[in-house]
């Protein structure tokens, strides 16, 4: 996912010269292209092939080509549609709304804050980002589960204890993902805010624009490219989140937090249906591509 985003960056163009020369210059790229072909394109192609077969992990020695069966099955499967819906809830809730706005707010506030406060906030937020996904998942499990620290805090405040992972698992995993991923947005926006010309902000201030007006009419338009880039990257990252959810809820109870990656894992490795699982993986790939196209289009519109 991330490498797909990276390749979306502007290609390096050779600065003129004869064709032979640019070919020669391209030569050092060959090994990396080869590696990409073998380790990235290869598995993807194999996955595409598998998605059209009835390959199984166990239970059948032969695999047959089944055409679109896996896909028609998926779209007729209420569990798949449920997973698709939850994936959208998860991505929009935890990435587009949660990480994105919280990251922006933190970055804006950190700009105004004193140095020690800023380093403290940065430290705490980035610590969550640095943690491996599964470790973060276990921490969040310990935080949210019935005897967990969140309920201890609620208990101390005299509020009723909640069974977060059981009653509202999708909310719990969304919050966990916000906690874990906000640092990325914050860093992107901190860097972008540094690029906003001081004179522009000061001029607006002279004209009597309040904080919100300055943010809405000056800052945001200037950093809009970063917003789009950030949205695209966190969307793709969040789409593929698996370890966090698996560690916290395993997609349950029932299928209340079963996003597409978890559903795919269950079909491929618990139900042994490799073919069906890869078909779902392909759908996930398409969902990611659709999001990317939308963001790229929006970016274009803004530029024009």
């Amino acid at each position: 996912m991330e490498s797909a985003a990276a390749s979306a960056a502007a290609p390096v163009r050779p600065s003129g010269g004869r064709a032979g020369q640019s070919l020669l210059r391209g030569l050092p790229l060959l090994p990396s292209l080869l590696l990409l072909a073998v380790f990235l394109a290869g598995p993807i192609l194999y996955c595409v092939y598998d998605a059209f077969t009835d390959a199984q992990l166990t239970g059948a020695a032969e695999t047959h080509f089944v055409g679109l069966d896996n896909f028609t099955r998926a779209f007729g499967d209420p569990d798949f549609l449920n997973a698709l819906w939850l994936t959208l809830v998860f991505v929009v809730g935890s990435a587009v709304v949660g990480q994105n706005t919280l990251g922006l707010s933190l970055a804006v506030m950190a700009e105004k804050a004193t140095r020690p406060v800023r380093s403290l906030v940065n430290g705490v937020v980035i610590a969550a980002w640095v943690l491996p996904e599964v470790v973060a998942g276990y921490l969040m499990y310990a935080f949210f589960y019935q005897q967990g620290s969140l309920n201890d805090v609620l208990g101390m405040l005299g509020l009723p204890r909640q069974n977060w992972l059981y009653t509202l698992p999708i909310l719990a995993v969304c919050l966990a993902n916000v906690w874990r991923g906000t640092a990325f947005s914050m860093m992107v926006y901190s860097a972008a805010l540094n690029e906003v010309p001081r004179e522009l902000v000061e001029a607006a201030e002279m004209d009597g624009a309040g904080v919100w007006h300055r943010l809405w009419h000056v800052t945001l338009p200037v950093i809009r490219r970063s917003i789009m880039t950030n949205l695209m990257l966190i969307t793709l990252q969040t789409l593929s989140v698996f370890g966090l959810i698996y560690a916290m809820t395993r997609g349950g109870p029932g299928n209340k937090s079963q996003t597409l990656p978890v559903f795919m894992y269950q079909q491929a490795f618990q139900n042994s249906l490799i073919g069906y699982g890869t078909a779902i993986a392909l759908v996930l790939l398409v969902v990611g591509a659709l999001f990317s196209v939308v963001y790229l289009k929006l970016l274009k519109v803004e530029e024009d």
């Binding site: 166990t58 239970g59 099955r73 395993r250 349950g252 042994s272």
Partner: protein, 457 residues
């Protein structure tokens, strides 16, 4: 220039070495080392099998100089263990030489071509005649009649009850419920009389995997009217949909969790329910009774993960009754594990040598006692040393005559998954019993093909 040369040299040397390494392990196909893969439970305190296999390895290596046994634990939940060994067996470079398998998985793995037929080996093995017939049939393929594993142990299932808690609640012991209603009545009584005690445990849900299906659901289903044919009809070779028995069993699960007679739902649906029940709630006298396997006591033996010397005075066992007490009155399920040689094993001959040692009479007896499992060798099953090793061995061995085996078919694991899904949805209350049964019927048809299903009564 010199640097480049050095780098080139280093690369050449590295490639040659690794090539030699590959060659080396390839050559070992002739014979000096084997990899033995087994399941290490997530509960790291449970090292019984590791200890046992290490003892076997040491004595085998001593008796066969120059041979090497590598013991490879796979630490995982039960379902993840199956996935891992299946992935390992797919490729010749990762296939072990000896692998520990649940007999429920064997037919499915045979159909995938993962396992090697052992007929030429067992034909020359005098001990093979000592293995019980039922156990042998559990490791052979109905499709080609060949043998694909050597059974390691078997088990039966029943109700473990806490005598002291039941007495405190005013239930007379020894306790033997006659019907499902007796079970629910007892649970309701405990709930009323002993606040803070979980009345009963019935495994459920997807995280529990086969534990939910076998100890939980099938102990109910096989005690309904359809008995042995409620899941799969061996005569017509059809999987059964929409049977009343299936719905009744789901209804029971629904009642247990709807009336809060079991663990809190979140705990019951967690991946650690089994460990929690065996090593915590039962020894702490917090569960009145638990429908579980014959092996429970090995949690509490001195060698187990949670030694509990008082268990033999506290815990007693009862047979699981049929739904309305109809004949034969009792029901039990049996499964067990077995050792197989993967089709892609590099060194099957040495693996077989090791297998013969592992499963000879003395070592089988030792292992059945350590793990308090039910013996599959008839000579061990009759051995007083085994029968008296734990106070419950006799009782659980006596359930063998009421026991059922799961339909050992390649599709069984998928059917089992569909059952856990149905159980989970009625446990959480996400769907009604009828809806869950309907979803199961659809999942079943998807898994086995709708021409392999038939409507039940």
């Amino acid at each position: 220039m010199r640097k480049k040369l050095l780098a080139a040299l280093a690369i050449t040397v590295a490639t040659t070495l690794s090539a030699a390494g590959c060659g080396g392990s390839g050559a070992a196909g002739g014979g000096n080392s084997i990899k033995v893969v087994y399941w290490q439970h997530l509960d790291q305190n449970d090292k019984k099998q590791q200890k046992f296999l290490t003892t076997m390895k040491t004595s085998f290596e001593k008796a066969h100089p120059g041979k090497k046994i590598e013991i490879v634990p796979v630490t995982a939940s039960e379902n993840d263990y199956y996935t891992k060994i299946q992935l390992m067996m797919r490729s010749p470079s990762t296939a072990p030489d000896l692998v520990y398998e649940d007999t429920a998985l064997i037919n499915s793995d045979i159909a995938s071509g993962y396992l090697k037929p052992l007929d030429p080996y067992v034909a020359d093995w005098a001990d093979w005649g000592k293995f019980a017939k039922a156990a042998k049939s559990a490791v052979s393929s109905p499709a080609d009649g060949k043998t694909y594993a050597v059974p390691d142990d078997t088990d039966t299932r029943g109700i473990w009850y806490n005598r002291k808690l039941l007495e405190k609640a005013g239930i007379k012991t020894p306790w033997q419920p006659r019907t499902w209603d007796d079970i629910l009545d007892a649970a309701l009584t405990v709930k009323k009389k002993l606040p803070g005690v979980t009345p009963m445990n019935l495994y459920t849900g997807q995280a529990g995997g086969e534990q939910s299906v076998m100890q939980g659901f099938e102990m109910l289903l096989y005690g309904t009217g359809g008995a042995g044919d409620s899941l799969y009809n061996a005569k017509t070779k059809k999987w059964i949909t929409g049977s009343q028995g299936f719905k009744d069993a789901l209804e029971f699960v629904h009642t247990v969790y709807g009336e809060n007679l079991g663990l809190p739902k979140s705990a019951a649906l967690g991946a650690n329910a089994g460990t929690e029940v065996g090593t915590k709630l039962m020894p702490e006298n917090k569960i009145a009774f638990n429908i579980d396997g014959s092996w429970m006591a090995n949690n509490w033996l001195e060698t187990g993960p949670h030694p509990w010397p008082e268990w033999s005075d506290t815990m007693a066992s009862a047979a699981m009754p049929t739904q309305n007490g109809q004949a034969p009155g009792k029901v039990s399920m049996s499964g067990g594990w077995a050792w197989s040689i993967p089709a892609k094993a590099k060194n099957p001959d040495l693996a077989w040598q090791f297998m013969k040692t592992l499963k000879n009479r003395a070592n089988s007896t030792a292992w059945n006692i350590i793990e308090s499992t039910t013996a599959v060798r008839t000579d061990v099953a009759a051995d007083p040393k085994y029968l008296e090793a734990t106070p419950t061995n006799k009782f659980f061995t006596s359930l063998v005559k009421y026991t059922h085996f799961r339909p050992a078919l390649p599709k069984y694991p998928q059917v089992s998954n569909a059952i856990t899904k149905a159980m989970e949805s009625v446990t959480t209350g996400q769907s009604s019993v009828d809806d869950a049964a309907k979803t199961y019927d659809q999942d079943l048809a998807t898994a086995v093909g709708s021409d392999s299903t038939a409507k039940g009564n």
